[in-house]
């Protein structure tokens, strides 16, 4: 019988994720089922238009009043509500310049959580950085409804680099420091309170042949939430480098990953392992303490990975990219939990951790006490176990047992038939008789 691929997708724990695609559509993907559900697209916001394609996204992920900021290709920066997709503020990034050009693309975007809490809740503060390296911190007053009237409050602008293109920027967990890096720009770290550059990385020395690989950072991420000193950068020459500010300016650790440029990096919540995605759709997790690869995520992923996001609580990591799939992986087993086809090139994905299913126990948020977190870990662990056991069962079923079953059923059939026609002698005679019978029948039919 035909050999077919049975998609063994164990399903996902309940979550909500937002995907941002190349046509400027935001799609909300949810799993509502408590028991290993299949993710589905529940909402779609925006009109399909190529000029509204996303470049950078950022979200304040919290239970009350979450906010989402997106930077589009046409120079617009919008602040939305991740719950219902209402536009709360919209500003044009092209200051004075009417034509949105490549240089004015906002490649880095960050919504500050901290300042938002201190001041009026109707305000939000944004860090933006264009390709040319013009970074600015602005605060935007949110409009009451989707009228779009918003005024830009205080604004601080500075230049991050003198030449080259900024391709990646990140803000650390305490929102005091930001890193910028890109094509021809070494990673530099800025103190956001004083707007001073505190550290710049140094390119690795020439190799034994005297060849110098040009600086081209494509992605970067901080390793820990509360530590700005350690971070990882991925380069276009498929190298992953670990930097430690307190140690040295050259990378503490660097290793190659496959043959295509590193396109996405994400840190795990444990603080040492990272997830790497590259331009040909390979994804792996690496332990930065040793620099050894823990394992690859294999799941027929054929397009470049643009974004990897770790769920803040559940053991789930999401990846998306140019093949139009949102894939969800188990972080422990590195098994594909499920894949959703979303039609366009997906440029970004974000988890909305405040999502919880009606009727089910509230998923604990970050603010809760450690005792409750332990409880959640148990909750997390139990479905895993269940899944493993079910998988084993499936394997058995897939393998010998199913065959056995089919065999036994066949044999039973045979025996029944034999019992019914035991009196018939040799097979040849019988076939002759049968053919005669058939002929007779056909004659009758005529």
């Amino acid at each position: 019988m035909p050999r077919t691929t049975t998609l063994v997708c164990p399903g996902c724990p309940p979550f909500r994720a937002l995907t941002f695609d190349s046509l400027g559509l935001i799609k909300a993907v949810e799993v509502r089922d408590k028991q290993r559900g299949v993710p589905q697209v529940v909402e779609r916001w925006g009109d399909p238009q190529s000029s509204k394609s996303f470049i950078a996204v950022s979200m304040i992920d919290r239970n009350s009043n979450p906010l989402l900021a997106v930077a589009r290709k046409n120079g617009q920066i919008e602040v939305l509500s991740p719950v219902n997709g209402d536009i709360q503020a919209s500003i044009s990034n092209a200051d004075g310049l009417d034509i949105p050009s490549q240089e004015n693309d906002v490649t880095g975007l960050h919504l500050f959580t901290k300042q938002n809490l201190e001041s009026d809740s109707r305000d939000c503060t944004l860090l933006t950085c264009t390709t040319k390296g013009n970074a600015s911190i602005r605060s935007i007053e949110l409009a009451d409804s989707s009228t779009g009237s918003s005024c830009i409050g205080s604004s601080k602008t500075w230049n991050v680099c003198s030449g080259g293109n900024i391709l990646c920027s990140k803000v650390d967990g305490n929102e005091k420091f930001a890193l910028f890096g890109g094509k021809g720009v070494e990673i530099n770290i800025w103190d956001l309170d004083n707007l001073t550059k505190i550290w710049t990385s140094k390119s690795p020395p020439k190799d034994s042949l005297g060849i110098f690989t040009p600086t081209w950072f494509t992605s970067a991420t901080f390793l820990k939430k509360d530590d700005h000193r350690k971070f990882v950068g991925g380069t276009n020459s498929h190298q992953v480098r670990l930097y430690d500010i307190s140690a040295q300016r050259r990378p503490v650790l660097s290793f190659d990953f496959r043959e295509t440029p590193i396109k996405a990096l994400a840190a795990d919540i444990d603080g040492y392992s990272i997830y790497i995605g590259n331009g040909s759709g390979d994804m792996a997790s690496v332990d930065t303490r040793t620099g050894k690869m823990v394992g690859c995520f294999t799941g027929k992923c054929s397009g470049s990975i643009r974004s990897i996001v770790r769920h803040p609580e559940l053991p789930v990591v999401a990846s998306c990219g140019l093949d139009g799939y949102l894939r969800l992986w188990d972080t422990n087993t590195r098994q594909l939990l499920s894949a959703v086809f979303l039609k366009q090139h997906i440029l970004h994905v974000l988890f909305d951790s405040s999502f919880n299913v009606e009727g089910m126990d509230l998923l604990p948020s970050k603010e809760q006490t450690p005792t409750e977190i332990i409880v959640t870990e148990e909750v997390e662990a139990s479905p895993l176990k269940r899944k493993n056991s079910s998988k084993n069962k499936e394997n058995i079923l897939d393998g010998s047992e199913r065959k056995k079953k089919s065999k036994t059923s066949k044999e039973r059939k045979k025996s029944e038939e034999n019992g019914a026609h035991e009196k018939t002698a040799s097979r040849d005679e019988r076939s002759k008789a049968a053919s005669k019978k058939r002929n007779k029948n056909s004659n009758q039919g005529l």
Partner: protein, 357 residues
């Protein structure tokens, strides 16, 4: 395996074979019990058993066909609907379910089409202008193939590769307003790969090229005229296939001259894209011939055949080759820093019934 297949074939039968089925089942079970001829070591004995089995199979088949014909005839006499023709199971129609297959009512697909790199050419805002070049070493079949490609694709220009980098050529072509670049890669004096680069920022498709037959090797071939050809793109169903189809479509002018009666076909079957180039002509045929033909095909339906029937006659001209997609790269040619939209990986070959185009 064979037994199971037969069972499936029989499942759609009518009452005439109802009786025979049970007897057949008996036969089949007994056949299973009997040892297979391949296990017999004595050659004479083996061939004897084998011949016997073969003859039996033949008889069975003939009887089945006869019964089928009889049933059809009877149904016709009674004025009933003839039993439905059974469709053989092929790899294509048992294809694995693919969620990326384009649906006709998908508005995101059309929006995506409007936004993609080829829309300006396909909406006739730009006329395609093709640059054809080769790899650095090029001899015998390569130039011959290129000269035929030049005759197939209108507004195509051949440039010697020289020692230029492909990235330099892409830059040059961008400045000269070319819309696509085709690179014919030759290995051991035989063209073996085709690279189609969309310009200015379109994707780069890398194809394996095989089974190349040049025009002069095709029996009774025609010589194409310089009219703009019509284009037939078959079976590009999935998202990826759709994109490849549009990439190919953007090589040809969008206003075919039907006067030229020239047609270029890209037929996708099981992820292989077959290229054919034909001239066609419509001819009216006599009644007699069509009737006899019709009778052969559909039995009694021949009464409805019109007096004169127009048929299309084809004459093949131009090269004949097969393409297979290896990778589709986002952006123009860049092997080191390129991002792939699709790249074939061995882990994807899990089934013979899984296709990507």
């Amino acid at each position: 395996m064979g037994g199971k297949r037969k069972k499936n074939d029989e499942s759609g039968n009518d009452e005439v074979e109802e009786e025979t089925r049970s007897s057949k089942k008996k036969m089949r079970t007994e056949k299973k019990e009997q040892l297979r001829p391949s296990t017999i070591k004595n050659k004479e004995k083996r061939s004897e058993v084998h011949a016997k089995l073969k003859r039996q199979k033949k008889l069975e088949k003939r009887a089945k066909a006869k019964a089928r014909d009889a049933a059809e005839k009877r149904a016709l006499e009674l004025g009933e609907e003839p039993p439905a023709k059974k469709v053989p199971r092929t790899i294509e129609n048992t294809r694995e379910l693919d969620e990326t297959v384009c649906k006709p009512d998908d508005e995101e697909l059309f929006a995506g089409n409007d936004a993609d790199e080829f829309s300006s050419i396909l909406n006739r805002h730009h006329t395609p202008k093709i640059l054809i070049t080769t790899c650095r070493f090029n001899s015998t079949r390569g130039p011959a193939f290129i000269s035929e490609l030049l005759s197939v694709i209108p507004n195509a220009h051949y440039f010697k590769r020289g020692t230029y980098d492909l990235k330099k050529i892409v830059e040059y072509a961008n400045n000269k307003d070319f819309t696509s670049i085709i690179v014919v890669h030759t290995n051991r004096r035989e063209p073996d790969a085709l690279l189609i680069i969309g310009l200015p920022d379109g994707p780069t498709a890398h194809f394996k090229l095989s089974n190349l037959v040049l025009r002069k090797d095709i029996k009774a071939h025609g010589n194409p005229t310089s009219h703009k050809p019509e284009l037939v793109l078959n079976n590009f169903t999935t998202r990826l296939g759709h994109r490849i189809g549009r990439l190919i479509q953007s090589l040809f002018p969008q206003d075919p001259e039907f006067k030229g009666r020239r047609v270029v076909t890209f037929h996708n079957q099981r992820d292989f894209i077959f290229f054919r180039h034909h001239r066609y002509i419509f001819e009216t045929k006599e009644v007699k011939k069509t009737e006899s033909k019709g009778k052969k095909d559909k039995d009694g339906n021949s009464e409805n055949v019109p007096e004169n029937k127009t048929i299309a006659r084809l004459q093949e001209c131009g090269p004949r080759f097969t393409l297979k997609l290896i990778s589709l790269q986002h952006g123009t040619f860049d092997t080191k820093g390129g991002e792939y939209e699709w790249v074939h990986k061995p882990e994807m070959d899990t089934s013979r019934r899984r296709f990507f185009l």
